[in-house]
């Protein structure tokens, strides 16, 4: 059992350590600020925290192994929306909702799922991000819709630990999407998923 837990809250990131059979509150980071997700990267010991500062937008920070200080990184950002686009989505990051490391043999690779539905990849420990166009440009993506939020979002990213090319992302609301080639191509994988309240 892990002896450390990171709790992301709207009032900061709380670090808990387990000692003597009970959890003890450790350092608190970003006190008072909304932390939407935290990723401890076991490959190199670094810690990532995504924030949503409201007025000032979505931010991403990294704390390297052994360091006491956080470094702000570039947050995933959408490319300029083509002027002639009829896409109703607002191409702007509203939230980092999921954050996952790449495979054990991919040091520095990270994946981020966002509102309004874009999946991003970094190959340099979060220093820069690229929108995964293979998923964003799928025509079906425009049919995704918000659940608890106004816009759709990627809430889960699952990388198969045995084969990093096998990926599965969960979308609220847009089903699950599977890639078998490390994100180069995608197909919906939602057979049997049906909400009772939806029309047949």
């Amino acid at each position: 059992m892990s002896k450390r837990a990171y709790i992301s809250t709207r009032k900061g990131l709380f670090e808990l350590t387990r000692e003597g059979g009970r959890w003890e509150l450790g350092p608190v980071h970003f006190l008072g600020d909304p932390v939407t997700i935290t990723l401890p990267d076991t490959r190199d010991g670094s810690l990532y925290a995504a924030l949503n500062l409201g007025h000032f937008g979505v931010k991403l920070h990294r704390k390297d192994a052994g360091s006491e200080t956080w470094t702000e990184l570039a947050a995933p950002a959408y490319p300029p929306k083509p002027e002639d686009s009829d896409d109703k989505a607002d191409w702007a990051t509203k939230l980092i909702w999921s954050l996952e490391p790449g495979g054990p043999d991919q040091p520095g690779v990270l994946w981020a799922g966002t509102l309004p539905g874009g999946l991003f990849k970094s190959s340099d420990r979060g220093e820069s991000w690229q929108l995964v166009r293979s998923l964003w440009d799928m025509p079906q993506r425009r049919e995704w819709f918000g659940g608890g939020y106004d816009s759709p979002g990627i809430h889960s990213i699952c990388i198969d630990p045995r084969d990093r090319n096998q990926m599965l992302v969960g979308v609220s609301c847009g089903g699950t999407w599977r890639s078998e080639d490390g994100g180069e191509s995608w197909a919906v994988s939602a057979n049997g998923m049906r909400a009772d309240y939806m029309p047949p």
């Binding site: 500062l53 409201g54 007025h55 000032f56 931010k59 702000e72 490319p79 300029p80 191409w91």
Partner: protein
């Protein structure tokens, strides 16, 4: 030269530069500030380069006219305040 003043709330998160600029328009003036701290851009503008929904800019006491183009003219003695927009009741 036009002067830019950023809310001290921003100083909690990132370096807020002192900016004196010869820029003739608002966006160019903001770019002068972003050149000093590139991370500041993401606090003021969104991914598409628009003024963030909850950020407001006043130029010589007048609210900026276009949140997308940010093309308000600046005078040599303009004072530009970049603030968070407050709401509530």
């Amino acid at each position: 030269m036009a002067q830019f003043f950023f809310t001290q709330q921003l100083a909690r998160f990132t370096t807020v530069p002192q900016v004196h600029t010869t820029a003739a328009q608002l966006r160019a003036g903001l770019d002068s500030a972003f050149a000093l701290n590139p991370l500041l851009r993401g606090y003021v503008l969104d991914d598409q380069g628009r003024l963030r929904e909850n950020v407001v800019i006043f130029i010589d006491g007048r609210r900026c006219a276009d949140r997308i183009r940010l093309d308000d003219p600046l005078q040599p003695d303009s004072k530009v305040y970049v603030l968070q927009a407050l709401s509530g009741g």
